[in-house]
Structure formats: structure tokens, C-alpha cells
């Protein structure tokens, strides 16, 4: 037990060293982890109930009482942006998780069996990818009806071809690698080669892609909600909030949509910074 403290100290020193060498990636991680913590602690941090309306205090500009000002029903924008982290991160991560699992299953399946199955599956993916992503998501969300789970499904579905293609090509490259052959040579079964040799080596680029995709998924979610196909009022979702405040920008109440917009921008940037740096981080040659 006594050895734990020095190990923690050594680890934190290594972490500090890493941060100094990869300041941009560390900044990205900082943003996302920071936002994540704020979201989790929203009930403690938020000064007001995000659903509380205060008609007497409508459309007030940012002040010490209301850091981000108040909205058209007198709701506190700051508290709603904080609670929005939970909703938007949830939708983004959910959509990516679904898309990732479905897409890479399709890709690995197609790559493993090859031939007709590969051909049919990948042409299907091509068809899905041929539609502009957002419009397809709009159509799906429209058909399924507005709700958070449906929003996740719509965004995940649009991303399936991305993961399918990536995992298939990665899979094919690694399958023809010398170490896959060497594994067969020592008597490993196909399933074992797949699980122990190929999977760990295909995950890195897919992780990178998913991180980048997280940002886009949040943007899509906000977009769909903005046009009314996603989450509904009074849920504190950033897209909905922007939609609510958009008509008021001309009349000077910019803060209603500005702060949720800023939250989206920072989040997307954070995920993109991580994605760029992750490639490097997951390279086994660095361990």
C-alpha cells in the first residue's frame, strides 16, 4: 500500500510531462473533461432551476445575477447552458456509440466474409452515404418523431457508413499483415486472431474518428433541434435554445442564442483537438 503514493506521484509527473509536450491535445482534453464535470455537477453549480420561469425578469442582459442573461420566459441562460451539457453530450456520445458499434460490425463482417456479402453491404453503405447527412437525419428524425432516443438513432444511422468503411479498410490492411500470418502460423484460430491480434490494432483510427465525430454529432443534434425535429421545449438543449433566441438577435437580445452557440463551438473544438492528438497518443510505439 505504501507504494501507491509514489506511483501516483510518478504518474502525475508523467501526465504533466505529456501535457507540456502536447499542449494542444491537452487543451482539448481540458475543455471536454471540464465541460463534462460541469455537466455532472450542474445541480450544484447552476444558480437557478433550468426549468424555472420568471415572467417578471424577461430578456435581461448578462449581469452578476444572471451571468448569461435571461431568456424570453425569464429563464436563466447560464443554468440552462450548464444543464444542456448533459443533454448534448448524452446525445453526441450516444449517437457515436451506436454508430460505432453498428458501423464497425458491418465493416468487419463485410471484410471478413468478403465476396457477395461484402459487395452488398458496402453498396448499401454507399447508398446511405450518398444522401447529404443532415438531410437524411432530418428525414429519419421527422419519421420517428421528436424525442431524444429518436434523435440519437437518426444521427447514429447517418454515421454508420463512415465507421463501416473505415473499419473494413483497416481490417483488410491488418488481416494481410505479417503478424496476422504469424499468429496463424503458431496455430491461432480465426476468432482468436480477430479478437486478440486484429481488433486491438484496428481500434486506434476508429477511436480517432469517433472523437471527431462526437463534435459533429452534437452539432447535428443542435441543428435538428433548432429546426424543431429534435428535442422540444422546455428541455435545456443548446439547439433549441438557439432556435428560441434566434428571432431576438435583430432586436438586440443576442445573449439568448449567443451563449448556447458558444457552448457548441467550444465543445466541437474540444473534440476536434482531442481527435487530432489521439492518433499520436494511441500509437503503441510511444508506450
Amino acid at each position: 500500500m505504501a507504494a501507491v503514493a509514489p506511483r501516483i506521484r510518478a504518474n502525475s509527473r508523467a501526465l504533466l510531462h505529456w501535457c507540456r509536450r502536447n499542449p494542444v491535445t491537452a487543451f482539448g482534453f481540458g475543455i471536454i473533461i471540464g465541460l463534462g464535470i460541469l455537466g455532472l455537477l450542474a445541480p450544484l453549480v447552476a444558480p437557478y432551476d433550468p426549468y424555472a420561469l420568471n415572467p417578471a425578469n424577461r430578456m435581461r442582459p448578462p449581469s452578476w445575477d444572471h451571468l448569461f442573461g435571461t431568456g424570453i420566459f425569464g429563464e436563466d441562460i447560464f443554468s440552462r447552458v450548464l444543464y444542456g451539457i448533459r443533454i448534448d453530450f448524452g446525445i453526441g456520445l450516444g449517437a457515436v456509440a451506436f454508430g460505432l458499434v453498428a458501423g464497425s460490425s458491418v465493416g468487419v463482417f463485410a471484410g471478413y466474409y468478403g465476396g457477395k456479402i461484402d459487395e452488398v453491404l458496402m453498396r448499401l453503405m454507399d447508398i446511405v452515404a450518398a444522401f447529404p447527412g443532415f438531410i437524411l437525419a432530418m428525414a429519419i428524425a421527422g419519421v420517428l418523431g421528436p424525442s431524444i432516443p429518436n434523435l440519437i438513432i437518426a444521427i447514429a444511422f447517418v454515421n454508420v457508413p463512415v465507421y463501416a468503411r473505415l473499419s473494413r479498410s483497416r481490417f483488410l490492411v491488418i488481416r494481410s499483415s505479417l503478424y496476422a500470418m504469424a499468429a496463424r502460423g503458431v496455430g491461432a484460430s480465426d476468432m482468436r486472431i480477430l479478437a486478440w491480434h486484429l481488433l486491438p490494432n484496428s481500434l486506434a483510427p476508429i477511436f480517432v474518428q469517433s472523437t471527431l465525430q462526437c463534435g459533429w454529432a452534437i452539432l447535428d443534434a443542435a441543428g435538428l433541434s433548432f429546426i424543431g425535429l429534435g428535442v422540444h421545449l422546455p428541455t435545456p438543449e443548446w439547439g433549441v435554445m438557439i432556435g428560441l433566441g434566434a428571432p431576438r438577435i435583430i432586436s438586440g437580445q443576442w445573449w439568448i442564442s449567443f451563449f448556447p452557440g458558444l457552448a457548441i463551438a467550444i465543445t466541437v473544438m474540444g473534440f476536434n483537438l482531442i481527435g487530432d492528438g489521439l492518433q499520436d497518443l494511441l500509437d503503441p510505439k510511444r508506450w
Binding site: Y179, M181, A182, R184, G185, V186, G187, S189, R192, P284
Partner: protein, 332 residues
């Protein structure tokens, strides 16, 4: 030759290659390759790039499926066996690869890679795996401290030692060594070659040693089979083949190998032109386009691998017709 551990007869491997928009042609990587290796013996398979030497090795171990021919391991026919049956035989026949780093999965510590065959085939009880891995590391000249390292954190020589340890884990009787030292530095190459020699003596291993380097071959091999464009053109005891070659290709190969010492004089025989493509190779003798001794007869009759005496055989048409007691001087 009933005492052979490995017997290969008429092994062939052809790949279709796209040519033009619709056409397909055949790349002949191995053609009617027959060879045998006894327990404890080293047979070198010598050839240049495109000779199909690696393909032969992979086909024997069923890492590729041969297009024809038979492979027998210890008298047991393995050519027709399904993959699941072959897997049960894999412990007996293992391979060491040319590029040690690429043959090791970069995501796992090398100790785990060496342990893999141990538990896949239940070679030792689970509780003994760790101990056995360390034992194997010691056997190939590595220490316990290397067990937890990742492949890229080791030097080229150490990586190849791991490759050898992994191959030895399942107590094989046959090792196919595919240019195991050609990616290594000179001083490290010597270490690995010595290690392979010691291991063979200690474990009574049979080696099929694939190489392009005659100097290395002369040091390790008991017998040599020279491969040119997928065909064996000459076989025999190493010293006989290298110092009294029958086939013009072997002569050219020996003559092109750099001298050992600046004062050493060598007779030079050079092959004219560029290497012939293994796609649709010449019908009869495949060396004809480059052979300095070729005569019209060489492209007219089939060049067959024929025995010259009890130990040696060659595929040269002119040699077979003109030699007297194994002596043939074509430049006369």
C-alpha cells in the same frame, strides 16, 4: 527416403494476375518443387527475389494454399487436411520471418506473444506458462527483463530472438527460416546464426533455411536447393553445389557473391539482361534468355530436374547431355 521428416512432392503455386482490362495471366511462383528434409538436417532453399522461395516455405506450412502437389510431415499427408486439422499439426512446424518487427503484434508485450502458442496448444499447464516463457527467453539469449517489453522497444536482433522463442514454444520438429538474418546488422547476424546452429544441435531441429545469401547458406546448410523462377534448378550437398556448381544459374550466383577478401580472384560469369518475369515464364529452360551458355537446343527440349549421381541433380539441358562424370566446361 522414408526417414524424411518433411517431404514435398510436385508443389506448385500459381496466382492469377490482372493484365490489361479484362485479361488474366498466371504468375508462377512455384512449379513442381520437390524436396525433403531429415530430422536434425538443414536444407537451404536459395534464390533471388521472384524465385518463389518464400512462397514455397509458406505453402509447406499451409500459410498459403498450394495450387498442387503434396506435403508430408513425418509421413502424414497434410495437403488435403482442413484448416482445423492443420492447426493441430502446427506445433510441429514453425516459421521464423524475415522482418521480425512486422511479424510481432505491436500491441502486445513480447512475453505474451511467446506465451500464445503455449496455451493455444496446452503445451504446459496454465500455472507453468510464466516460468516456461522465461525459460524460452533464456534459451534464445534474452533475459527475464525483456518479457514485458513491447516489440518496438527491442533491437532488431532481440526482436528476431523473440521470433525464434515464439517458434520454439510449441516444441516443433521443423523450422522454416525465411531469411531470418537479412534485415540485421553484420555483428548481430552472426549472433543469430550461431544461436540457430546451437539450437539445432540442442533440440535436434530440422531447418528449411530460405536465403539469398550464399555465404550464410554455406555456414548453416547441409544441403542446398537452388530455385530459379519457381523451379529447383540444382540440388546437392552444400559444398558440392557452391564449389562445383552444375547449373549455369548456380555458377552465376556463386560468381556474383562478393569476394571474401580484396585479393581473392574469382571467375566471373554474368547473366545478361534483367531478371525474367515470373509471369508466363519461358516454356522450357527458364534461364535461356539470360544464360551465357544457351544453345538452340535449350529452348527446344523440356528441362527436367535429373539426378547426376546419388546426391546431386540439375535441370540444365546441356549439362545433362554433355557432362562426363559430373564435369562440364561450357566455355570450351
Amino acid at each position: 527416403m522414408t526417414d524424411s521428416l518433411l517431404e514435398v512432392a510436385g508443389l506448385g503455386k500459381r496466382y492469377p494476375v490482372r493484365s490489361g482490362v479484362f485479361g488474366f495471366r498466371e504468375l508462377v511462383a512455384a512449379d513442381e518443387v520437390s524436396l525433403s528434409v531429415k530430422a536434425g538436417e538443414t536444407l537451404a532453399l536459395v534464390g533471388e527475389s521472384g524465385s518463389g522461395k518464400s512462397t514455397v516455405g509458406r505453402c509447406i506450412l499451409r500459410l498459403e494454399t498450394p495450387s498442387g502437389g503434396r506435403v508430408r510431415l513425418d509421413g502424414k499427408e497434410i495437403t488435403e487436411l482442413p484448416e482445423s486439422e492443420v492447426r493441430k499439426l502446427r506445433p510441429q512446424m514453425q516459421m521464423v520471418y524475415q522482418e521480425p518487427l512486422e511479424s510481432l503484434n505491436p500491441r502486445h508485450p513480447v512475453g505474451k506473444l511467446v506465451a500464445e502458442p503455449l496455451f493455444l496448444h496446452g503445451i504446459v499447464p496454465k500455472s507453468d506458462i510464466k516460468r516456461r516463457v522465461v525459460e524460452l527467453f533464456r534459451l534464445v539469449g534474452l533475459g527475464e527483463e525483456h518479457v514485458g517489453r513491447y516489440p518496438h522497444a527491442l533491437s532488431g536482433g532481440q526482436q528476431q530472438r523473440v521470433g525464434i522463442a515464439r517458434a520454439l514454444a510449441s516444441n516443433p520438429r521443423l523450422l522454416v527460416l525465411d531469411e531470418p538474418t537479412s534485415a540485421l546488422d553484420v555483428s548481430v547476424e552472426a549472433q543469430i546464426l550461431n544461436l540457430l546452429k546451437d539450437l539445432q544441435e540442442k533440440l535436434k531441429l530440422a531447418y528449411l533455411f530460405i536465403s539469398h545469401d550464399l555465404a550464410v547458406v554455406s555456414m548453416l546448410a547441409d544441403r542446398v536447393a537452388v530455385l530459379y523462377l519457381g523451379q529447383i534448378v540444382e540440388t546437392g550437398p552444400t559444398r558440392d553445389v557452391l564449389f562445383n556448381s552444375y547449373h549455369p544459374y548456380t555458377r552465376a550466383l556463386v560468381s556474383a557473391t562478393p569476394v571474401d577478401h580484396p585479393r581473392q580472384k574469382k571467375r566471373r560469369i554474368s547473366l545478361s539482361g534483367e531478371p525474367t518475369s515470373p509471369i508466363d515464364p519461358p516454356a522450357n529452360c527458364r534461364l535461356v534468355p539470360r544464360c551465357p551458355f544457351a544453345q538452340p537446343v535449350c529452348s527446344k527440349v523440356e528441362a527436367e530436374l535429373a539426378s547426376v549421381d546419388a546426391h546431386r541433380s540439375t535441370r540444365c539441358v546441356r549439362f545433362q547431355r554433355e557432362h562426363r562424370n559430373g564435369i562440364w566446361n561450357p566455355s570450351e
